[in-house]
């Protein structure tokens, strides 16, 4: 009796010890975590601080200076800490919740700098001033923190939390102009479709959990994607569909033109650049797992179809639109389609270094170009009505040569013409696709990028080759007096050209080893 009692006590004690040990060693984060995940934590704290500061402002409609200072300060520190922090080898914290590897650190840096750029640009233009209310700044910081959480996530739950923080913030940010019908339409559309996408995503996750009993990306290799295991296949398909919705890949693209058009231009740039960047990183993490042997064909087909549809729709629909932001929205759909080349290559060969390099370099290049292009658009919209038409840019090259020059650089970048950065983006994408034998997809890419070139060029035609007409935007300042926007645009132009001249070194030299949880044997094989 006593011996059995003793044994039971022993057992309880050892279980307690092991739980404690696991809690201390593996689940509760080491202090390193607080240093390495500093960007996320800083942004979250910053968001709370700006929110509290908002309580003390007298007029909530007016931009809040102090909140802006706080926001700029935290994003600056966050990006600096992401750039300087160095890790010897990839580490996973909170189970697989936060993976700190070079991919995450690079994403932190990109997201931090992108947010900083957006904040600075918004403060410099009149339309951007609307974004500088305390609560909106707080939402923007939350959204960036969410993006960082997404990029660092190694399992579904933390990824989903990040995604939702971002999405919910963005729904509100898109619709902040309560009196503007277009903004409301954009926000409602974005919200309804986004919520549906989130539901699809969750359904996919549920099915995946049902089939393998784990939601860690590292365990996805257990998924058997043949038609005999419908739950696995359908689960992953739904998960991917939910994700590509955020990338605005056709056939899940229909929200993009309306949202891009309705949202504040600075915000559009932020969404086009950083949200796409982060989702691309997440998809890269998911797709770098090797699924059960030889059953990837379905996935490849899926990305093939997505890629072709997106590239074709983005390139062709852009031709018929007149609104600059709508055109750029279709351009972003086409560009999202280009990502599918890398996704398809990655799905074929999860270890393909070329595909990962292509994905990361294109994501970053696209981020730079989008942020730059939408900043210039905001500059044009300044003191004019929002949502410019193509004709309203006629003759702007003579009036604002620098802004027109910058926009031309970014448009050449989208079109992939060297020496602007976009060329190397396309170069590596085609290389990765050719590596895995997707020559047809590469040819579709190049044929349609020649088509889409037409609308990029037509914007430039208006800016440079046509004289001013009575439709062209009336700007009270005849010369470019907005030196802050000029500087910021110059930064983006230099970045675009520098990447174009030197190649995307950051992506080629990156260490693509992902962090792995220490005791990942929770699921039996």
């Amino acid at each position: 009796m006593s011996t059995s009692n003793f044994a039971l006590e022993q057992l309880q004690l050892s279980i307690k010890h092991s739980i404690q040990a696991r809690l201390m060693n593996e689940i509760l984060p080491h202090y390193h975590f607080y240093i390495l995940a500093l960007p996320i934590l800083l942004l979250l704290v910053g968001a709370l601080v700006t929110m509290i500061l908002g309580v003390f402002t007298s007029n909530p409609i007016k931009p809040s200076k102090y909140s802006w200072y706080v926001a700029v300060f935290v994003t600056f520190i966050a990006s600096v800490s992401a750039i300087v922090s160095h890790i010897a080898e990839p580490i996973a914290f909170l189970g697989s919740g936060v993976l700190i590897d070079q991919i995450s650190l690079l994403s932190f840096a990109v997201i931090g700098m992108g947010t900083l750029f957006t904040l600075l640009a918004a403060s410099a233009s009149n339309i951007g001033q609307h974004l500088l209310r305390s609560e909106l700044l707080s939402l923007l910081l939350f959204s960036s923190a969410g993006l960082m959480i997404m990029c660092a996530a190694g399992e579904f739950i933390s990824f989903f939390i990040g995604l939702e923080i971002t999405s919910v913030s963005l729904y509100v940010l898109v619709g902040y102009q309560r009196k503007d019908l277009r903004a409301i339409e954009a926000a409602v559309k974005y919200f309804l479709l986004g919520a549906t996408a989130a539901a699809v995503l969750l359904m996919g996750a549920a099915l995946i959990y049902a089939s393998i009993g784990s939601l860690r990306f590292a365990d996805f290799h257990l998924l058997n994607l043949s038609a005999k295991h419908p739950f696995s296949l359908l689960g992953l398909f739904l998960l991917i569909c939910g994700l590509v919705f955020k990338l605005a890949i056709a056939p899940f693209h229909s929200w993009a033109p309306d949202v891009y058009q309705g949202a504040n231009s600075h915000l559009t740039g932020y969404m086009a650049a950083l949200v796409k960047f982060s989702v691309a990183i997440v998809l890269m993490r998911i797709l770098s797992t090797e699924f059960v042997n030889g059953t990837n064909t379905n996935l490849v087909t899926l990305f093939w179809i997505f890629g072709v549809l997106s590239i074709a729709i983005g390139s062709l629909y852009g031709l018929i639109h007149n609104s600059i932001k709508r055109m750029l929205a279709y351009s972003s759909i086409a560009n999202a389609g280009y990502f599918c080349l890398a996704f398809a290559s990655l799905a074929t060969n999860p270890n393909s270094l070329a595909a990962k390099q292509a994905l990361v370099s294109y994501a970053i290049i696209y981020t730079v170009l989008s942020l730059g292009a939408f900043t210039v658009i905001a500059w044009f919209e300044d003191t004019n009505r929002e949502d410019l038409l193509k004709e309203e840019l006629s003759g702007i090259g003579a009036k604002k040569p620098f802004a027109a020059f910058a926009l031309s650089v970014f448009l050449f970048g989208f079109a992939g013409i060297p020496p602007v950065a976009g060329f190397f983006g396309k170069f590596f994408l085609i290389l990765s696709a050719v590596n895995e034998g997707f020559i047809g997809l590469s040819i579709i890419l190049v044929v349609f990028s020649a088509v889409s070139l037409y609308y990029y060029l037509s914007i430039m035609v208006e800016m440079w080759f046509k004289p001013q007409s009575r439709y062209s935007i009336q700007n009270s300042q005849s010369v470019e007096t907005n030196s802050a926007l000029k500087t910021l645009t110059l930064v983006a132009v230099i970045a675009a050209l520098l990447i174009g001249f030197l190649g995307p070194r950051f992506a080629v030299n990156l260490n693509y080893v992902q962090a792995v949880e220490k005791s990942s044997a929770m699921v039996k094989k």
Binding site: I417, P418, L431, N435, Y454, W464, G503, N509
Partner: protein
């Protein structure tokens, strides 16, 4: 010292115009842009003088790429590097470009009246990309320069062009990019196959030559077709010419003077890439392309005869003349290749001279219609003299350079394909018909219009340009040997490649104390370490 300059000369030639463009950019524009023009002028003259270094120190007995320079560019694993060098093929084309850029800037003094600062910057960028295309020996670098050369031209035609300029420039740009994107896929595929085959990625064209020539025939022919389509659009080869008349008609005067050189970019690409990379496929498709070239020759000449707009006549005449060059390239023997290269120079010179003369007429009369002129021989004797010289150059009269070129091409083509060559000979006659027709309409006849009676002198710089070009027309007609000596060894090797269907072999060399020494490639060094 000479060795030291030789080491860096090509990079200097590529980047010096860019530096000059940067200087011009930094000088604020005033009412007149005289300062900018003077700086640009100095820059192109210095560039020309620098390019003379190439002739002085070029070893004519070698087919290797001389003055080569290797600088790591992208990260090492990608094997994409900055590699430049010239051989007999590109040497004369580089000199041709620097010469014509000089003429171009001279012309800008009077023809560009608005936004001249921007124009000069674009022009210098164009010069730099043209030289880049002719000298780069890395396919990625080549592609960057090739595409980048479209951008300045796009803006030049779009901003300073004629009434229909927007249509023309969009057509020009989209035709160009559509073709070259297919080339990009082909080159990337080649790069990938090389990387997969050898385990080391490299976009050095010398490495790719050996890989490409050993590919199975179906693959080779697809790649060949993609690359040739891209160059064929820009040459242009027969069915892809429709951008050319529009671009010529609408472009500013300077572009037309340069156009002879710009079309040669693609002709150069045909030899360097289409033929040398894929000799097997090239010889398989040679007959088809020669037939297209002959159609181009005859069609271009006939259409040119029927046009009344001078610029369009020049466009179709270029189609016809470039047809001869393509015929020469794809006849694959030493004579025809020599003739093709020679004809590249001749066409640039005669077309340049004719354009200078026509632009002068246009400035006076604001008209491109040949019916608006006539009787200029009595009012402007000097003008007419130069006009007739340029026309004779274009007709390929014996004693002009074109005669030598066309004769060599046809002689070579007869050896390769007698029937095609004999049909092409008709092109020589038709060429004479339309050129003489223009000469008759413009120079001779009665002066119908009073505007034509007033005597206007040629400007000094125009006299200079025309004297130099007319001189060249005859010099090339009599003294072909020195030029051919420089090109012969390279062309012999190309002939060997094309006939024996083996890979083109060459090396990157640098002169050290009067001897050619292969340069160290850092990628080779890395290979040695392993």
């Amino acid at each position: 010292m000479a060795d030291f300059i030789s080491h860096y000369i090509l990079s200097i030639l590529i980047f010096f115009p860019l530096v000059a463009a940067g200087v011009i950019f930094l000088i604020p524009s005033k009412e007149t842009s005289q300062v900018h023009r003077n700086i640009a002028m100095i820059a192109v003259v210095v560039e020309f003088i620098l390019s003379l270094h190439l002739i002085r120190y070029f070893f004519s007995g070698s087919s290797f790429f001389q003055f080569a320079q290797f600088i790591p560019w992208l990260p090492k694993v990608t094997g994409v590097n900055y590699i430049v060098g010239v051989d007999g093929l590109s040497l004369s084309l580089v000199l041709l470009s620097t010469t014509f850029c000089m003429f171009g800037v001279m012309t800008s003094y009077t023809t560009i009246k608005v936004r001249s600062k921007a124009f000069l910057i674009l022009f210098l960028m164009l010069e730099s990309t043209i030289i880049g295309v002719f000298t780069s020996l890395d396919v990625v670098l080549f592609y960057v320069f090739w595409e980048a050369s479209l951008i300045p031209v796009y803006f030049m035609i779009g901003i300073w062009g004629g009434k229909q300029r927007i249509h023309a420039t969009l057509k020009f740009f989209i035709y160009g990019v559509a073709g070259s994107l297919l080339m990009l896929v082909a080159l990337i595929y080649l790069y990938y196959v090389h990387g997969k085959g050898t385990g080391i990625y490299s976009s050095n064209i010398l490495d790719l030559y050996s890989t490409a020539a050993n590919l199975p025939f179906p693959v080779q022919s697809w790649l060949f077709l993609a690359v040739t389509l891209s160059f064929g659009i820009k040459v242009p080869i027969f069915p892809f010419y429709s951008w050319l008349p529009d671009a010529y008609e609408q472009s500013p005067a300077i572009y037309t003077i340069m156009s002879g050189v710009i079309l040669k970019l693609a002709a150069y690409g045909l030899i360097r890439f289409s033929v040398c990379l894929f000799p097997q496929a090239a010889s398989h498709y040679a007959t088809a392309i020669m037939i297209l070239a002959v159609i181009g020759i005859l069609y271009g000449a006939l259409i040119a005869w029927q046009q009344t707009n001078i610029r369009r006549i020049m466009a179709f005449s270029s189609l016809s003349h470039l047809g001869f060059i393509v015929l020469g390239i794809f006849a694959f023997n030493q004579f025809s290749l020599q003739g093709a290269l020679y004809q590249m120079l001749n066409h640039a010179i005669t077309a340049g001279a004719l354009f200078i003369l026509f632009n002068f007429l246009y400035e006076r009369r604001k008209s491109f219609d040949i019916n608006d002129f006539g009787g200029l021989a009595s009012t402007m004797p000097w003008f007419s003299l130069f006009f007739i010289i340029a026309c004779m150059g274009a007709v390929a009269l014996p004693s002009t350079g074109s005669f030598v070129g066309e004769w060599l091409i046809l002689m070579g083509a007869f050896q390769a394909a007698p029937i095609i060559a004999s049909i092409a000979t008709l092109g020589v006659i038709l060429g004479a018909v339309y050129i003489l027709w223009i000469a008759y309409k413009v120079i001779f006849g009665t002066a119908k219009y009073s505007e034509n009676v007033h005597v206007v002198k040629l400007r000094n710089y125009e006299v200079f340009q025309l004297v130099v070009l007319s001189g060249f027309i005859f010099v090339l007609g009599f003294a072909a040997t020195p030029i051919m000596e420089h090109t012969q060894t390279t062309l012999l090797r190309i002939e060997k490649t094309a006939i024996q269907k083996i890979s083109y072999e060459s090396r990157l060399v640098q002169s050290v104390h009067g001897r050619l020494v292969p340069i160290q490639l850092s990628s080779d060094a890395a290979q040695g370490d392993k």
